[in-house]
């Protein structure tokens, strides 16, 4: 075991995968010599050389296209998109090509590409460095979609993603790279070294993609979330004293509906929280499935706490970022309803 923040845990996952398999390489803008703008690929250039920690021209569509070609030719590229906000030039390659290749070739071709993309706000990044675009990719058929909330799981999930023969889009909430964040920006930052999930084995291990985690057991209301919002929701539950069950989805596609179902059928109440905007966000999909699976168990309308349907603002970061208070109010509304 070692104390690792999320950056170090992700780095360890890539290091192990590269060490075990020469087909694995990391590539993207500034990922080679510099080690990535968030330092996630730090040291890999030195250890594995410029051919395997591959700096690339600034063209996400180009990066994605060559990653697919490499994948088809037997490699396992890990692509870093510097900010998930920069992913849009690659949408055609991701949605029309990467996600569908296996299907359209009748299973003949596939490209085991992992796309790593720092996402989410809370870093004063404005609208071009704060987005949570996961809902766009869950809507494209054929992409496993993962968003870890802590170093331990980030490493296990990333190794699983690299070894997966399907393409995986792996969103990394950058606000919690260095420590968990409960939404209170006035509080002193707390490092991962002070958190139990900052204890990370140095060796190889995997966490199964497609399995949610019940983080806090409870019986009054189910709170379903992922990424940054896991910590905000956890703090809201703790500070409000509500007997809530907290589920960290970890994987959005495939969605672990069984875990959700078991919880909501027990509590009869449900709050879904994500940082992405409300309309057509992934929360809408969760609500639909909860309704389909748990309709007769529900005692209250399902609530959503999300980012507002506006571009991410620079000045009003903390009015935009879903707060503990909003989550608590949503839990209370479901509890008051009969």
């Amino acid at each position: 075991m070692a104390k690792m923040n999320m950056i170090q845990a992700l780095n360890s996952a890539m290091d192990i995968a590269m060490d075990r398999d020469p087909n694995v390489l990391v590539m993207g803008e500034d990922v080679g010599y510099f080690g990535g703008v968030f330092r996630c690929t730090d040291g890999l250039y030195k250890k594995y050389g410029s051919h395997r920690a591959l700096d690339m021209p600034i063209a996400e569509g180009g990066i994605m296209g060559v990653a697919i070609g490499m994948g088809v030719n037997g490699l396992r590229p890990i692509v870093e998109i510097q900010f998930s906000d920069y992913i849009y030039p690659a949408i055609d390659q991701i949605v029309s090509e990467l996600a569908r290749l296996r299907h359209r070739s009748g299973g003949e071709y596939f490209a085991p590409v992992v796309i790593r993309a720092p996402c989410g706000g809370g870093i004063r990044g404005g609208q071009t460095h704060s987005q949570s675009p996961e809902g766009i990719f869950t809507h494209a058929c054929g992409l496993k979609t993962v968003m870890p909330s802590n170093p331990y799981e980030a490493k296990g999930l990333l190794i699983a993603a690299i070894e997966d023969d399907d393409p995986v889009i792996f969103f990394e909430p950058k606000r919690i790279y260095n420590g968990p964040f409960d939404g209170d920006h006035n509080k002193a930052a707390s490092p991962w070294s002070a958190h139990p999930l900052g204890d990370v084995p140095q060796e190889h291990y995997k966490i199964e993609i497609g399995k949610a985690n019940v983080l806090e057991p409870g019986s009054a209301v189910t709170v379903i979330t992922y990424g940054n919002m896991v910590h905000v929701a956890q703090a809201a539950i703790k500070n409000s004293g509500i007997d809530a069950e907290l589920i960290d989805l970890r994987t959005l596609i495939p969605l672990d509906i069984d875990t959700i179902k078991a919880s909501v059928q027990k509590t009869g109440r449900c709050v879904v929280v994500h940082e992405a905007t409300l309309t057509s966000g992934f929360g809408a999909e969760i609500l639909s499935q909860v309704q389909e699976e748990c309709f007769w168990h529900l005692k209250a309308p399902i609530e959503r706490v999300t980012g507002w349907d506006t571009p991410y603002p620079h000045a009003f970061e903390w009015e935009y970022f879903p707060s503990q208070e909003r989550i608590t109010q949503a839990m209370l509304r479901t509890l008051e309803s009969n």
Partner: protein, 417 residues
């Protein structure tokens, strides 16, 4: 817990993949000795309606006006009065004073972010001065000099950086992502190269309306890899759109050297196959930048279509406040840059022609620094990033659409609840 899945460790590859190198890294000495610097008299200034193929040598050469003797020479020497040159010098010094102050303010926590254009001030200032106020600017993030040329309020630029109550874009964007319709300065995007094809469309509309306004856009060397750059060149050439498409080759894209985009050629050469003249110019030579821009603007106004200009310069400082260049390039690489500093070079020229002196220069520098200090105080009086005042919080829901639809009206009432 450890997975025992067998891995074929027998595989060993002998990679033959070519990977470009950098001009220097922290462990290697900077070396720009391969850069050929022709004399100003070595170039030629062709007719503005020349065919791209007939003047392709300009894409591989380097247009210069200021020689090593700090005097003007050669066919590109523009007709610029000493007053105009002094104005250019003042703008460049003003930009640098502004940048220095803003960078410091970011370091003190007053701004969330900042980007300087140190070492490449001549690009935006000389180009801005060579254009008409009605020409439309589609900048990238390092052309703040354009706003100085167009007399934008410095206090208002600072207010944008502070996202305060006087920020004309209402706290919506990070510092330096200016927008000023009044100054024909397009709203900056954090997504690279998107503005390039938009500039072509703006130029097409100008031609369609029978007007003679030109659209001008900028990208960096790294961004030339983006597909939008190709789109702009193809559409611009197809419709002979009145545009000037600039590549500011400042050698570095954050940590990535220009060799990852230049493919061993010049950037200017890239447009020739698309019948667009490519001209490579000494980007630290104020007069040369002015002259080439003037040529391109005249070509555009006469219906000759786009010009692709590579401004050969050097990014003296980091990409932004978020990176330390010493981590990825040789220490003091800037001091090895063979084309000098644009402010120093214009200053030395003005001194050489006896229109300026070291004393006047120092006096102007202190005057500009004092002005910036005063402007900063005034900007802060309109609000700080952390403590405001800002625009009202509910303003966040405005401008998503022209009229606020019901779902946003509903959300705006929930905020703060």
């Amino acid at each position: 817990m450890t997975d025992k899945q067998p891995v074929d460790t027998a595989i060993q590859y002998q990679s033959k993949l070519f990977v470009p190198q950098a001009s220097s890294r922290p462990e290697t000495a900077p070396d720009f000795s391969h850069i050929e610097i022709p004399s100003p008299i070595a170039s030629h200034r062709p007719d503005v309606l020349s065919e791209a193929i007939d003047i392709q040598d300009l894409a591989y050469g380097l247009v210069r006006v200021l020689g090593d003797d700090n005097l003007v020479a050669g066919p590109w020497a523009p007709d610029l009065s000493p007053d105009k040159l002094l104005q250019g010098l003042k703008h460049m010094m003003h930009v640098r004073a502004f940048d220095n102050r803003m960078f410091k303010m970011q370091r003190q926590g007053k701004l969330s972010f900042y980007m300087k254009c140190t070492g490449e001030e001549a690009v935006a200032v000389a180009q801005g001065m060579a254009l008409k106020p009605s020409d439309m600017l589609f900048p990238s993030y390092r052309q703040q000099g354009l706003l100085f040329v167009r007399d934008h309020s410095i206090v208002d630029m600072m207010c944008q950086c502070l996202s305060n109550a006087k920020d004309n874009i209402k706290g919506r964007q990070m510092p330096i992502f200016y927008s000023s319709k009044k100054h024909n300065f397009f709203s900056l995007s954090g997504n690279l190269a998107t503005q390039y094809s938009q500039a072509v469309g703006w130029g097409m509309a100008s031609a369609y309306k029978g007007e003679d306004n030109v659209a001008v856009s900028w990208v960096g060397d790294g961004t030339t890899a983006a597909a939008d750059v190709y789109h702009a060149l193809v559409f611009g050439s197809t419709y002979k759109a009145p545009v000037i498409l600039n590549v500011v080759n400042n050698q570095w894209a954050i940590s990535t050297p220009q060799s990852f985009a230049s493919t061993g050629s010049t950037f200017a050469a890239r447009s020739i196959g698309l019948s667009i003249p490519g001209i490579r110019v000494d980007g630290n030579d104020f007069l040369a930048v002015y002259a080439v821009t003037q040529w391109a603007a005249e070509r555009a106004r006469k219906g000759g279509g786009p010009t692709f200009i590579e401004l050969y310069t050097y990014r003296t400082e980091g990409h932004s406040t978020s990176d330390n260049p010493d981590a990825y390039r040789g220490k003091n690489e800037a001091s090895f840059w063979p084309l000098g500093d644009p402010i120093e070079r214009l200053k030395e020229h003005l001194i050489a022609i006896e229109q300026w002196s070291e004393e006047q220069h120092q006096a102007l520098q202190s005057e500009l620094t004092d002005e910036i200090t005063k402007d900063w105080k005034e900007a802060l009086s309109h609000g700080s990033l952390d403590n405001g005042p800002h625009w009202p919080v509910t303003s966040m829901f405005e401008d998503v659409f022209k009229e606020m639809p019901p779902h946003l009206v509903k959300q705006s009432k929930q905020i703060g609840v």
